[in-house]
Amino acid sequence: MMKFRFRRQGNDPQREKIKQDLFAFNKTVEHGFPNQPSALAYDPKLQLMAIGTKSGAIKVYGSPGVEFTGLHKDTATVTQMHFLHGQGRILSLLDDNTLHLWEIGQREQCSSLEEVCSFTIPCRTVIESTSATRVTVLLPKLNCDLLAVGTEGGGVHFLELPSLTLLDKSLFQDEIMQSVPDEYKCGKSLGPVESLQEHPQHPDKILIGYSRGLVVLWDLQTRHVDNLFLGKQQLESLVWERSGNSFVSSHSDGGYMVWSVSSSTPCTNEPVSSTITYGPFPCKAVNKILWRTAESGSPLVLFSGGMPRASYGDRHCLTILQDSQHVTLDFTSRVIDFFTVHCTDAHKFDDPSALVVLLEEELVVIDLQTAGWPTIPAPYLAPLHSSAITCSYHISNVPTKLWERVVSAGQQQGSLQTHTNWPICGGKNLAPDPKQQELMLTGHEDGTVRFWDASGVSLRPLYKLSTANIFQTDCDHNDSLTQAGEEEWPPFRKVGCFDPYSDDPRLGIQKICLCKYSGKLVVAGTAGQVIVLYLSDEKSDHMIDVATVDLLQDREGFTWKGHDRLPPKSGSVVFAPGFQPVVLVQCMPPAAVTAVTLHAEWNLIAFGTSHGFGLFDYHRRSPVLARCTLHPNDSLAMEGPLSRVKSLKKSLRQSFRRIRKSRVSGKKRVSSTLCEANAHLAEQDAEVTPVQRRIEPRSADDSLSGVVRCLCFADTFLRDGTHHGPTMWAGTNSGSVYAYALDVPSQEKFSEQSVEALLGKEIQLMHRAPVVSIAVLDGRGNPLPEPYEVSRDLAKAPDMQGSHSVLIASEEQFKVFMLPKVSAKTKFKLTAHEGCRVRKVALVNFSSVASEDYSENGLVCLTNLGDIHVFSIPALRPQVRYDCIRKEDISGIASCVFTKTGQGFYLISPSEYERFSLSARVITEPLCQVEFDRPHDSSETR
C-alpha cells in the first residue's frame, strides 16, 4: 500500500529534469593520509610521487592539486612500485606475486590513472616451488625497455616493457655460481635476490645483490660476470655511487660497506670501508641505504634502521650523515620507504634537495639544502589522525574576515607555512579556484581542534587549537622526550606529528559549534566541559570564568559512577592569538556532551548530556536554565563511557606503548553471485544458534533515553501565531522534544537584564525514536537563516508572515509540525517503509546546473545502511537515493558531515576523509594534467 508513494513521484518528466539538474552523486576526492601505506615510488622526470597501500590502492601526487587514484582489482598489498621514468607509467607488484602496469591517461584535458596489463612469473618446472618464483625486487631500466625481476629462488628474469612479455634470457644462480670461487660457495645457495641496481653510467650493466652477501656486476649484453664482490654479511640493500666507481651495501647487522668497482679486479673480497654506525652492541638491520654526493662536501648517507637492538630496537628511525653532521630522525610510526629528490641530469653531483620519508601514518619531508635539515610541511596528505578524530564540523562560505584572522593565527603558530619549496611539483592543477572558502574543523581525542582549509582538493591545515591547557591533567603537556634527547646518543630528533597516545581521554572533543560572523566558538568535550572561545588577534593572559551547571536538578537516587570532571587551572593562563577560552561551563555530572549549539546574537549557548540540557548566557556568565531529561529507571546513564578506562600514567605509557590498531579500511568489494550466497547459506544452516532480534516497541524506560541528541535556536512563533521570539528546542533519545520560549533582552540591555526561558511545548513523539535533528522553517518552508545573517544583510530575511513550521527528524521518521500549535502537517516514515534508520540529517541548499538562480532546499539524510536520501521540504517527498557508505562501516557513517551546499565528508579510515557531492553543481574534484612523452604506447604494442 505504501509503494504508491514512490510511484507517483517518478511520473512527472519535468520534475525529473529539474531533479537531474539539482542532484548528482559523486565521490570526488580523498583527503588526508592513505591508510596503511605499503609502497612508495618517485619519478624524478615527471616529479610525481606514488603511494601504494595494503588495500591495493595507488595514489599519485604531484604539485598541490595534482592527484590520481587507482585501485587494483584484487585487494592485495602493493609491495613495490616503480615509475617508468618520464613515461607516465607505473609498475606495481602485489603480494599475490602479480605485476601490474598502470598508465596516466589523458581524458578531456584532465588525466586519470588506469591499469593497462598485468603479468605473473610462470613456474619454470613443476618441481620448483612457487616461492622460488616469488618476486623480491624489480628494476625497470632507465630507458624503459627492459624490466629485471629478481626472485626468491635467486633467479633474475627479464621482461620487455611496456608489454610485460617474458624474454628468454633469464639468469639463474647456477650461471653465476660458475664464476664464484669455491671457497665462497660452501655448497650453499646464494639466497634470494635482494637488490638490483642499474649501473649509472653503463645501462647494460646491472648490480645483482644476493641475500647471502654476494654482489655481482652483470653485463646484460655479453651475459658475463664483470665483477664479483664476496660480501659475507647478509645483504639488505645496494646503492650506486653516482660515478659508478663504487657502491654501498647495507646489511642485517646494522652496518654498511662501501665497495669500489674497477675493471682490473674481477673479484673483490673486502670492501673499502665497513661501518656499523650504532655499534658496537648488536644492531638491527639497515633496511635501505642511499648515498648521495654533494658539491659542497662529503656525500650524504641516509639509511633507515640500524638502531642498537637492546636500547632502541623499538624506535622507527632514519639516519642522515654528512661529515660531522649526524641526525637520527625519530618517527612515531614505521618507516615504509624513502627517497631523495636530487639532480638526475648530466650534473656532476647528486646534490639532494629533499628527503621524502613515507611512514605508516604520515609523510615527512626534510629540506636537505637548509642547514639543520628542517622539515617541509606537506601541502597534501595531511595527517588528520595525528590524534584520533572524535568529531567533525564543516562551515561553508566562510567570511573573508574570519578566514584571514584564522590564517594569521595559524601563521603565528607555525602550523601554516608556504609551500614554495615543496619538492614534488609535477603536473598542472586545472581545477578552478574555489568560489568560496570552506572550513573543516576536526575535534580530536587529545583536546585539540584543528582547522582545515576544505575549499579545494587538498585539505590544508590552517590552525590548531588546544583546550588542554586550561585544565590540570595527569600529565604535563611539554613532552620531556625531546629535551632529554639532546644528551643522548644517538642524536635523536623527534619528527612528525602523529601521536596516537592520548594524555587524558576526558579531554576529547565531542561537539563543536562556530559562529562564522562573530568568531565565537563553542567546544564541548568528554568530561562535560563546554568552553566558549572568542577569536582574538592579540596575545592574552587572563583567568577563565568557570560555571557549574547541575543537570540532575536534585533528581534523587542518582550517583554518577563515571569519570571525574577535569579540574580547571587556577590563576591566569597565557593564550596565543587565535581562539581564546573565555568561559568554561562544567556540566555536572561530567558526562560527555552530546549536543551543543550557539547563538552569538543572543549570547547564548545550549548544551546537553545524557542527563539533561542547559542554557547559559555567556555574556553575563549566568546559567539560564537546566533541565533534567533522565528517566527514573535509567541506570546506564550514570556510567560514563570512560568509567572502566583508567588514565594511564606517563611512565606506564612509555613502557607499554599502546598502539592503536588501524582499522582495516573497507575497500573490499563484495561479489555476491547467487552461488556464493547459497554456499554461504548452506554454511549458515549448520550453525546452531542463529542471531535473533526481538520485536518490541520502544518503551519509555529504555536505558539512555534521556540523552539529549540535538539542540537548536530559532526566532519563531511558539506561544501564539502573532508574536515571534527567540526559542530553544531540545530533542532526546526517547523521542521527547522540549521547546522553550526565551526572553532575550535587547542588545543594549544585555548587561542589565537577564535572559529567561519558559517551557512552551513538550512533544512526545509516539514512536519514541531518538530525535536526530530539529529545524524551524519559515513561512515559505525555507530554513531560518543563521544568527547575524539578517542583521548584517547577508541573507534574505525569513518569511515571518506565513506560519512557521518545525521539522523534527527522528531515527525513524521525519515530521513537519505547524507552529505555534504543533499540529502535524506532513511526515515521512522512513523506517516503516525502507527498514533503515536515520543517522545524520542536514538541510541543504541545492542549486541547479541549468540555471544559476534556481535552487531548492532539501533534507539530506544518511541512514544506517549507508545510503543517502534527499527529501523536499516541507513536503517531505523523496527525491533521490544514493548508496554512499558500506553499511558495515559504522565509523564512516558516524563521522559523516554535510555541507550547506550539498557536499559531504566521511572517514574511510582513521586518517582519510572521502569527499562526496550530492549536488550537480557544487563539486570539488581534482582536475589536473601531467604532460609526458610516451614512446611506445601500449595501444600500439598490443
Binding site: M1, M2, K3, F4, R5, T629, H631, P632, L674, A677, N678, L681, A682, Q684, D685, P690, V691, Q692, R693, R694, I695, E696, P697, R698, A700, G735, S736, L759, G760, K761, E762, I763, Q764, L765, M766, H767, A769, E812, Q813, K815, F817, K821, V822, S823, A824, K827, K829, T831, A832, H833, E834, G835, C836, R837, N864, L865
Partner: protein, 428 residues
C-alpha cells in the same frame, strides 16, 4: 381449587405451543407464557415484561438462563426466539437494572453454580485465574486479525496485531534462515526471515496466529526479501503500533480454505479457536471479522489517509495513556486519577461497529450468528457508550468518537484543529 383449575386449565391446550415463563425482577416473580412457535418480536416481549413488572423510566437488561444454566442476554429478536425455542420446560427470565448489570456474569455458569472447571489447555496460566471473566462485547477490542484472506495465496496469512494501550509485549523474535523458492531454474535456497521465538504471554503468542518458524514475507505491505534481519527488525518496530505481518505459516494445516468469501471468516475463526481457550484475550469470531472489514477498509483507501486512519484510531486512547505516563515521568505532576483501561478499550470497538456499517456486503444473512452478535454489539454499545462518555474527561476524544459514529468514512480524517495524530502535546 377453582383457582387452580382456572390456572391450569388454559395451560393444557397450550402444552404443545406455549412456553411457560418465570420472570424475576429483584425478589418479585411473574409467571406467564409465550407462544413457542411464534414468539413475536423482542420489542413486544420487552413491553410485556415492562408491563408485567410495572417497570417504567428505568433502563433494564433482560437475561435468561439457557439449558446449560448460563445467563444470556435477550436484547433482540434473534436471541429472544432462541431463548424461547430452547426453553425447556420453563423460560427463566432475569431482569436487572442497567446500572446493576454485572456483565461478567453473562455467559458463565454463575446461575447453576456448578463451578465447572474450564478446559485447562494452558494449565499454568489458567491456574492463576481460576475464574474466567468474559467481558461484554463493548469491552472487547481487536487484538489481532487475519486480513486480506481473499487476495492472498492460501498458503500465506496476513496477521494484524493491534497494540493500542496494551501493556502486553508484542513478544516475538525473528531470525535469519533459508527458505526454498520455486524459480525458473528450479528450487533454490534463498535467505528468509523467520519467527524464532515467542514470548510466553505476549501478544503474538496469545493470538495463536503466529508460530515459531513461520516465514515472514511482508511487513506492513513491504516485502522483506532482500532486506537484512536488522532492517526487518527496524521495520517491525517502526510499525509496532499497527503491525501487519504476512507470514507463510510453518503449519499449513490451519489454512483458510477459500471456498466462499464468508467461509473465509469462519475458517479464520476456527483457526483462532486455538486461542479461544486462552481467556484473557478470548475473541468471538465477530471481533476478528469486524476488524477484517475495518482493515480492508483502510487498505483499499488512499494510502495517505490510510496512515491517518491508523493513527487516529489508535491515537486517542494512546494519547491519554502516553500523556498520563509522560506527566508522571517528566513533569512530576500527579497523574490523572482516571483508570486508563476502560477508555482505552472502548474506542476501537466503537469504530469496528461503525465500519461494519460501511461494509454492508459482510452483513450477509448467511452467517447468522455473526450478524446477530454484531447487532448485539451495536445495541449494547449505545447506552453504555453514553454512560462512559460522560465520565470521560477528554472532551476531544468524545468529539472524535461521536463523529466517528455518525459518519465513519469522512470523520476518520482528523478534525481540523483537533488533537494531533501522532504524539501528544502538552501546552503548559
Amino acid at each position: 381449587m377453582n383457582r387452580s383449575f382456572n390456572k391450569s386449565q388454559p395451560l393444557r391446550p397450550l402444552e404443545l405451543d406455549a412456553v411457560e415463563v418465570k420472570s424475576k425482577y429483584g425478589a418479585e416473580f411473574r409467571r406467564f407464557s409465550v407462544n413457542r412457535v411464534k414468539p413475536g418480536k423482542f420489542e413486544e416481549f420487552f413491553k410485556l415484561i415492562m408491563h408485567i413488572h410495572r417497570i417504567a423510566n428505568m433502563e433494564v437488561m433482560i437475561g435468561y438462563a439457557d439449558v446449560h444454566g448460563d445467563l444470556l442476554p435477550i436484547n433482540n429478536d434473534e436471541n429472544f426466539s432462541k431463548a424461547v425455542s430452547t426453553a425447556h420446560p420453563l423460560l427463566r427470565i432475569f431482569i436487572q437494572r442497567q446500572e446493576e448489570v454485572d456483565y461478567s456474569n453473562f455467559g458463565t455458569n454463575t446461575l447453576t453454580r456448578k463451578k465447572k472447571a474450564v478446559v485447562p489447555l494452558r494449565n499454568d496460566l489458567n491456574r492463576k485465574r481460576p475464574h474466567i471473566r468474559i467481558g461484554m462485547p463493548q469491552d472487547f477490542r481487536p487484538v489481532s486479525s487475519i486480513i486480506d484472506v481473499d487476495i492472498l495465496p492460501e498458503s500465506h496469512r496476513r496477521v494484524r496485531l493491534y497494540r493500542h494501550g496494551s501493556d502486553k509485549p508484542l513478544g516475538f523474535y525473528i531470525r535469519d534462515g533459508t527458505s526454498v523458492r520455486v524459480t525458473p531454474h528450479g528450487l533454490e535456497k534463498v535467505p528468509g526471515i523467520f519467527i524464532s521465538r515467542m514470548v510466553p504471554g505476549g501478544l503474538a503468542e496469545s493470538t495463536g496466529l503466529l508460530a515459531v518458524n513461520d516465514e515472514v514475507l511482508e511487513v506492513n505491505g513491504i516485502e522483506v526479501s532482500g532486506k537484512t534481519l536488522d532492517q526487518v527488525t527496524d521495520m517491525m518496530i517502526a510499525n509496532s503500533h499497527n503491525l501487519i505481518v504476512t507470514v507463510k505459516p510453518v503449519n499449513q494445516r490451519n489454512n483458510v480454505v477459500r471456498s466462499s468469501r464468508i467461509s473465509g471468516s469462519s475458517g479464520q475463526s476456527s483457526d483462532s479457536s486455538g486461542s479461544g481457550s486462552f481467556p484473557a484475550i478470548t475473541h468471538s469470531p465477530s471481533t476478528a471479522t469486524v476488524s477484517h472489514s475495518y482493515a480492508h477498509d483502510d487498505l483499499d483507501s488512499d494510502e495517505e489517509s490510510d496512515i491517518v486512519i491508523e493513527s487516529s484510531v489508535s491515537r486517542p486512547s494512546r494519547r491519554s495513556n502516553t500523556s498520563h505516563v509522560h506527566l508522571q515521568t517528566s513533569s512530576a505532576t500527579p497523574s490523572p486519577p482516571s483508570p486508563p483501561t476502560r477508555p482505552q478499550s472502548r474506542p476501537p470497538s466503537v469504530i469496528s461497529t461503525a465500519s461494519f456499517h460501511s461494509q454492508p456486503s459482510l452483513n450477509g444473512t448467511a452467517h447468522n450468528s455473526l450478524s446477530y452478535r454484531l447487532h448485539r454489539d451495536l445495541n449494547l454499545q449505545q447506552p453504555h457508550y453514553h454512560s462512559t462518555s460522560t465520565r470521560e474527561s477528554n472532551g476531544s476524544l468524545h468529539k472524535i468518537l461521536s463523529s466517528l459514529r455518525t459518519d465513519p468514512r469522512n470523520s476518520l480524517a482528523l478534525p481540523p484543529g483537533g488533537v494531533e495524530e501522532d504524539g501528544m502535546v502538552i501546552t503548559l
